[in-house]
C-alpha cells in the first residue's frame, strides 16, 4: 500500500497541523459544530417565526437554548439514558437482529468455496474478505436499526407514553444511540472472534517431506509435497537439527530432523509461521537527488503515475480555496548510473529498539522503469548504502536486484563493512552509522545506466518490531466499530425528523455516497478553480453527455449560455464540496482494513484519529437530533 502524507501524521499533527492550522481536524470540527449551531438557530427562528410571528419566534428560540443549557443538559439522568438504551437494545434483540450473525456464519461457511488458497497472498485474501464482509454487514445493520426505530415509535404512538414522562430529549436521543451501539457491539464481537478463527484455520496447513538428498558436506537438502498449491524447499547444515523452509506465499515452516534407528531421518513440519504478521514499520524522511546530485523535492516523473486527488487532507483550507493543490504521493524515480539517489533518514534508531539483533530487517517495495528492455531475466540492479548523517562514515554499498511487484525483505547484518577515512573495516551498524540523536541514513541508487528505480516514502522501511496478528485484527475491528457508531449517530439524527425509509436513504447518501465520492467532487472543483476543461459540473456534464461532446473540448454554446451554465455548475459543485467536506471521511476508516490485510500494524495514532473524529460527529449528530426532536410536534 502506498501511504499518503496524512497517513504519516501523528495524532497531534492531525489534530493541530502545526504551522498550517487551517488544515487541522480540530478547526474543521469546531467550524462544523459552530456552523451547525448557527444554522440551527437560523432555521429554528424561521420555523418559529412562521408558527408564532417574528417576535414570539425569537423568544421560542431563546427558550429552546435556555432549556438546553439550564434544564435538559444538566438534568440529564444516566438512569433514564440507561433505561432507554436498554429498551432500544431489547427492541432490536427481540426483533431478531442477531440473525445477522447467523448470516455471517453462513457466509464464512461458504467462503471456503470461493477463497482461493492458491493465490499469491492467501493471508491478504482471507483477512480482507472477513474484514470487508463484517464491515458492510455491520454498517448495513447499523443503518437499519438506527433509522427505523424512532419513526416506528412515532407511528405506533409508543413515544407518547415516553415523552409524557419526565424524559428529556437529550436522554431520548442518547438512549437510542447508546442502545443501538450496544446491539452493534454485541453483533460485532462474535463476528470478530469468528473471523480470527476462520483466518487462522483457513491458512493452517502442514507439509510432508517429498524428496531428500544428502550432499557431500553432510548437509541435507529437501523439498516438501504440494499442499494448497505450493511447495517449499529446506536445507539442513551438517550439524543442524532444526531449520526453516524457504518463504513461499508469505509463510515458512519450521522443520525438525530426527534420526531413526536405521540411520535414516524423519522430518517434522510445523504449521505456517510468519503468514499472519503485523509489521511495525519505521519510516524515514525521503530526499531525492537528481542526476547532478542536487537535492529535489520529488523524484523523476516517468509519466502516467499522475498526481490526482489527495485534497481531502486539506481540511477547511481547501474549502476556502487557500490550499495549494493536490498533495497525493506517487512513486518518484531515480536515474541509474548517475548521482541520482533517494535518501531516507530514519529517526529513533538504536540497538535496543531492534532487540539487539544481529540482522537489521529492511523491507522494500520498489518499482522499476526501463528505458530499454535489456536482459529482462536478470532484473534491474540497485545498491543500498547506510550512512552516518553527522560523520563521513558509510557502509560498503550492498547490491540488490529489484523484486518488482513483490515485497523484498532484506536482512542486513549488523556487523558490516564500513568505510571510515578511506579505510574499510568491519564495524557495528548501530555504533558507527547511527548518529548521537539516533538517526541513520540509507541511500538508494540504481546501478544500471539509463534504467530507473521508483520509490515513495512508504516504499522502504525498517522493521524494529512486530505485533501479534490478533492485536492487529482487534484494531481493525475497532475501526469498524467506530464506523458503526458514526452511522448509528447519523441514522438516529435523520430518523428524529424523517420516516424510516427516507431516513435510511438520507443516512446512506450522506455517509456512503457523499463520502465515497468526495475525492471526485474535490477533483471537479479543482478543475473548475484552475479553469481546465474536464467536463465541468453536473449541468455541463449533462449537456456534453446529450451532445456527445468530448470532455476536454470547449463547450460549444454561445458565451452567455456558457457563462450561466458554468456559474450554476460552480455553485452546485462548491455546495457539494462543502457538504462532502462536512461529512465523515468513511472511506478513510474503511481503508484501515488495508493495513491488516497487507500485514502492517495499524498505527494507534490512526485509530485515535478515527475515534476522535467519531466522537466529534457523534456530538454533532446528537446536537442536531436534540433540536430536531425538540422542535417536533410529536402528536402532529
Amino acid at each position: 500500500m502506498t501511504l499518503q502524507p496524512d497517513d504519516f501524521w501523528s495524532f497531534n499533527e492531525w489534530l493541530m497541523r502545526p504551522n498550517s492550522f487551517l488544515e487541522s481536524a480540530l478547526l474543521q470540527g469546531l467550524v462544523l459544530i459552530v456552523l451547525a449551531i448557527v444554522l440551527g438557530l437560523i432555521v429554528g427562528y424561521i420555523v418559529s417565526a412562521a408558527r408564532y410571528g417574528p417576535v414570539e419566534g425569537f423568544y421560542a428560540v431563546a427558550r429552546a437554548v435556555r432549556e438546553l443549557l439550564l434544564h435538559d443538559g444538566p438534568r440529564t439522568s444516566p438512569r433514564r439514558i440507561v433505561a432507554l438504551a436498554r429498551l432500544a437494545f431489547k427492541e432490536a434483540i427481540r426483533r431478531k437482529v442477531l440473525f445477522v450473525v447467523g448470516l455471517f456464519v453462513v457466509l464464512l461457511l461458504f467462503a471456503g468455496w470461493f477463497l482461493n488458497e492458491e493465490s499469491r497472498d492467501p493471508a491478504r485474501l482471507y483477512i480482507s474478505f472477513v474484514l470487508t464482509t463484517t464491515n458492510y454487514l455491520i454498517l448495513l445493520l447499523a443503518l437499519f436499526i438506527s433509522t427505523f426505530s424512532i419513526p416506528a415509535d412515532v407511528k405506533e404512538k409508543t413515544i407518547y407514553t415516553i415523552v409524557t414522562k419526565p424524559v428529556r430529549i437529550t436522554e431520548l436521543v442518547l438512549g437510542r444511540m447508546l442502545g443501538f451501539i450496544a446491539v452493534g457491539t454485541l453483533m460485532l464481537a462474535p463476528m470478530a472472534l469468528l473471523s480470527g478463527v476462520f483466518v487462522k484455520r483457513g491458512l493452517d496447513h502442514v507439509h510432508q517431506v517429498e524428496t531428500v538428498e544428502e550432499e557431500g558436506d553432510g548437509s541435507i537438502v529437501g523439498t516438501t509435497d504440494y499442499v494448497q498449491g505450493h511447495e517449499h524447499t529446506f536445507r539442513f547444515a551438517a550439524d543442524q537439527d532444526q531449520t526453516v523452509t524457504n518463504k513461499v506465499r508469505g509463510h515458512r515452516h519450521v522443520v525438525t530432523k530426527t534420526k531413526n534407528d536405521d540411520g535414516s531421518y524423519s522430518f517434522d513440519f510445523s504449521g505456517p509461521v510468519d503468514s499472519l504478521v503485523a509489521r511495525v514499520p519505521l519510516y524515514g524522511e525521503i530526499q531525492f537527488y537528481d542526476r547532478m546530485g542536487e537535492p529535489k523535492n520529488a523524484g523523476i516523473d516517468v509519466g502516467q503515475e499522475s498526481i490526482v486527488g489527495g485534497y481531502s487532507s486539506a481540511g477547511v483550507s481547501r474549502l476556502i480555496g487557500v490550499a495549494q493543490g493536490p498533495r497525493k504521493i506517487e512513486y518518484g524515480y531515480v536515474e541509474g548510473g548517475t548521482l541520482g539517489a533517494a535518501e531516507f533518514t530514519f529517526g529513533g534508531v538504536s540497538a535496543e529498539r531492534f532487540g539487539n539483533t544481529d540482522t537489521l530487517l529492511l523491507d522494500m517495495q520498489i518499482r522499476a522503469f526501463r528505458s530499454y528492455k535489456g536482459d529482462i531475466e536478470t532484473g534491474i540492479h540497485g545498491s543500498l548504502t547506510f550512512k552516518n548523517p553527522d560523520k563521513p562514515i558509510q557502509s560498503e554499498p550492498i547490491a540488490f536486484i529489484v523484486d518488482e511487484y513483490e515485497l523484498d525483505e532484506q536482512q542486513i547484518p549488523v556487523e558490516l563493512e564500513i568505510i571510515e577515512d578511506g579505510k574499510t573495516s568491519t564495524g557495528n551498524l548501530f555504533e558507527k552509522l547511527v548518529s548521537d540523536d539516533g538517526q541513520l541514513q540509507l541511500v538508494l541508487r540504481c546501478t544500471d545506466d539509463a534504467q530507473y528505480l521508483g520509490v515513495t516514502r512508504s516504499a522502504v522501511y525498517l522493521r524494529p518490531a512486530e505485533v501479534a496478528f490478533e492485536v492487529n485484527l482487534a484494531k481493525a475491528y475497532a475501526s469498524i466499530w467506530l464506523q458503526m457508531v458514526m452511522v448509528i449517530a447519523f441514522g438516529v439524527m435523520f430518523s428524529t425528523r424523517l420516516g424510516g425509509p427516507v431516513a435510511m436513504v438520507s443516512t446512506g447518501v450522506l455517509c456512503v455516497v457523499l463520502s465515497f465520492f468526495a475525492e471526485q467532487i474535490y477533483d471537479t472543483r479543482h478543475y473548475i478553480d484552475i479553469g481546465q476543461e474536464r467536463g465541468g459540473g453536473p449541468v455541463e456534464s449533462l449537456i456534453r453527455l446529450v451532445k456527445q461532446d468530448a470532455l476536454t473540448t470547449q463547450l460549444d454554446l454561445d458565451s452567455t449560455t456558457t457563462k450561466v451554465i458554468k456559474t450554476t455548475d460552480a455553485g452546485i459543485v462548491y455546495a457539494m464540496d462543502a457538504l462532502a467536506t462536512a461529512v465523515p471521511n468513511l472511506p478513510k476508516m474503511v481503508e484501515t482494513a488495508e493495513y491488516a490485510a497487507s500485514g502492517f500494524d495499524i498505527p494507534v495514532a490512526l485509530v485515535g484519529r478515527h475515534a476522535t473524529a467519531t466522537f466529534g460527529y457523534f456530538l454533532l449528530a446528537f446536537l442536531i437530533s436534540y433540536f430536531l426532536l425538540k422542535a417536533r410536534e410529536i402528536a402532529a
Binding site: 412562521a50 408558527r51 427558550r63 434544564h71 435538559d72 438534568r75 439522568s77 438512569r79 433514564r80 440507561v82 433505561a83 432507554l84 436498554r86 429498551l87 431489547k90 427492541e91 427481540r94 426483533r95 405506533e156 404512538k157 409508543t158 413515544i159 407518547y160 407514553t161 415516553i162 415523552v163 409524557t164 414522562k165 419526565p166 424524559v167 428529556r168 410536534e633 410529536i634 402528536a635 402532529a636
Partner: protein, 346 residues
C-alpha cells in the same frame, strides 16, 4: 376496591400536598390545569389551514376534582389533552400545568397519562414495561420493585406479569396502560377515553378506581364520549363541540331538571298511587306518569355476571320481576368490586 389496592393509591405521602380535599376553598394554587385562550389549528405541510381543532378554550381544573371533557368525535377533546401534555404545541394561547408551561418536561413528574389506546411496547412483559417506566421517573431500584408489585396486583395481572404484551387481550393491555400511568403516584391523572374497549365489569372497575383516586386526593381529567361514564364519576364537565366550549359546570347542577319532581317508593298499593296523584293535582301539579322503573342494561349485565359467578350453570330466563330484583342487588354491590378480581377478559 379492596383494602390493599386502595392503599397502593392512597398511602404515598411524599408527593401529596397537605390534605387536599374536594371541598377545599378556591385558592390560586389549587388550580392544577389552566388553559388560557387555547387554540389549535392543524396545518398541512405547506402551512395551509386544515382544521380548526380548538378555539379559544378557557378552563380551569382544580385540585382534587374529577373533570370530564365531553363531546362527540372530533370535538377537540383529545387535542386538548395532547396540548396539556405538550404533545402538541398551541397555535395560540397557553396551557399551564402546576403553574408550569406545558412544554416543560419537569411537569411530567406529577402527571400520569393513559392514552386513548395503550401505546406500549409489545415486546416487553408487564413487569418489564412497568419497570421501564419506573426508570424513566428516575426511581431507585427498591422503590421501583415495590411499585411494580403493587400496581400489578392493583390491576389484577399477577398471573400474566412475565408474558409479552403482544400476547395480551385488549382489556389486559389497557390495565398495563393504567398501571404505567400510576407508576409515579401522580397528582394529576389524564385519562383519554378510559372506558373505551372495556367490558361493563372493566368499565365499572375503572370508574371505581377513578373515584378511589379522587378520594386519595388526586386530580383527574378524563375525556370521553360515553356519557354514562361521565355522569357517574365526574364532578365537573366541559362539553365541547367543533372545538368550542359549549357548557361548563358541575354535573349535578347541569343535570338537574328543576321543574320535575321524582319520587321513589316501594310497597305502594294501586289505591295509594291514585291517592298520591290526587294530592299532586290538588297542589296544581301535573302527573305525567306513574310507572315501575326500568333498570339500565349495565345494571342487568353486571347482575347476571355476578350471579353466574356465584352459581355457575345455565341461567333460567324469567319474567320481568327479576329485573327489579337485579336493580336492588346491583346497587348494593356497586362499590364492592375492585380491579383486582376481574379476569374475565383475558
Amino acid at each position: 376496591m379492596d383494602s390493599e389496592s386502595s392503599a397502593a393509591v392512597a398511602d404515598r405521602p411524599e408527593n401529596q400536598p397537605a390534605a387536599a380535599t374536594p371541598a377545599a376553598p378556591d385558592v390560586a394554587s389549587d388550580v392544577v390545569i389552566e388553559t388560557r385562550n387555547l387554540s389549535k389549528i392543524y396545518r398541512d405541510f405547506w402551512g395551509r389551514r386544515k382544521v380548526n381543532a380548538l378555539k379559544s378554550l378557557d378552563i380551569e381544573v382544580r385540585r382534587g376534582e374529577i373533570f370530564g371533557l365531553l363531546g362527540p368525535n372530533g370535538s377537540g377533546k383529545s387535542t386538548t389533552i395532547k396540548l396539556i401534555l405538550g404533545l402538541l404545541f398551541p397555535s395560540s394561547g397557553r396551557v399551564l400545568v402546576f403553574d408550569k408551561d406545558a412544554s416543560e418536561t419537569s411537569k411530567n413528574e406529577q402527571i400520569g397519562y393513559l392514552p386513548e389506546e395503550s401505546y406500549l411496547y409489545k415486546f416487553l412483559s408487564a413487569e418489564e414495561t412497568l419497570d421501564f417506566y419506573g426508570r424513566l421517573f428516575d426511581m431507585p431500584g427498591s422503590l421501583r420493585k415495590q411499585r411494580v408489585d403493587e400496581l400489578i396486583k392493583l390491576v389484577g395481572l399477577s398471573g400474566a406479569r412475565y408474558r409479552q404484551l403482544k400476547e395480551y387481550s385488549k382489556g389486559m393491555t389497557r390495565r398495563v396502560g393504567l398501571a404505567q400511568a400510576l407508576i409515579n403516584d401522580p397528582d394529576l391523572i389524564l385519562l383519554d377515553e378510559p372506558t373505551t374497549g372495556l367490558d361493563p365489569i372493566g368499565t365499572r372497575e375503572m370508574k371505581d378506581l377513578i373515584l378511589a383516586l379522587r378520594d386519595a386526593g388526586k386530580t383527574v381529567l378524563l375525556c370521553s364520549h360515553q356519557l354514562a361514564d361521565v355522569q357517574d364519576v365526574c364532578d365537573r364537565v366541559a362539553i365541547l363541540h367543533q372545538g368550542e366550549l359549549k357548557e361548563l359546570g358541575r354535573v349535578k347542577d347541569l343535570l338537574k331538571v328543576r321543574d320535575v319532581t321524582e319520587i321513589h317508593a316501594t310497597g305502594l298499593s294501586d289505591s295509594a298511587k291514585d291517592e298520591i296523584a290526587e294530592v299532586i293535582k290538588r297542589h296544581g301539579g301535573n302527573v305525567e306518569s306513574i310507572d315501575n322503573p326500568t333498570a339500565t342494561m349495565e345494571d342487568l349485565f353486571l347482575n347476571i355476571v355476578r350471579e353466574s359467578e356465584a352459581r355457575p350453570g345455565a341461567r333460567r330466563v324469567s319474567a320481568t320481576s327479576d329485573v327489579a330484583k337485579s336493580d336492588a342487588a346491583g346497587d348494593a354491590a356497586d362499590h364492592g368490586s375492585g380491579m383486582g378480581d376481574g379476569g374475565s377478559d383475558s
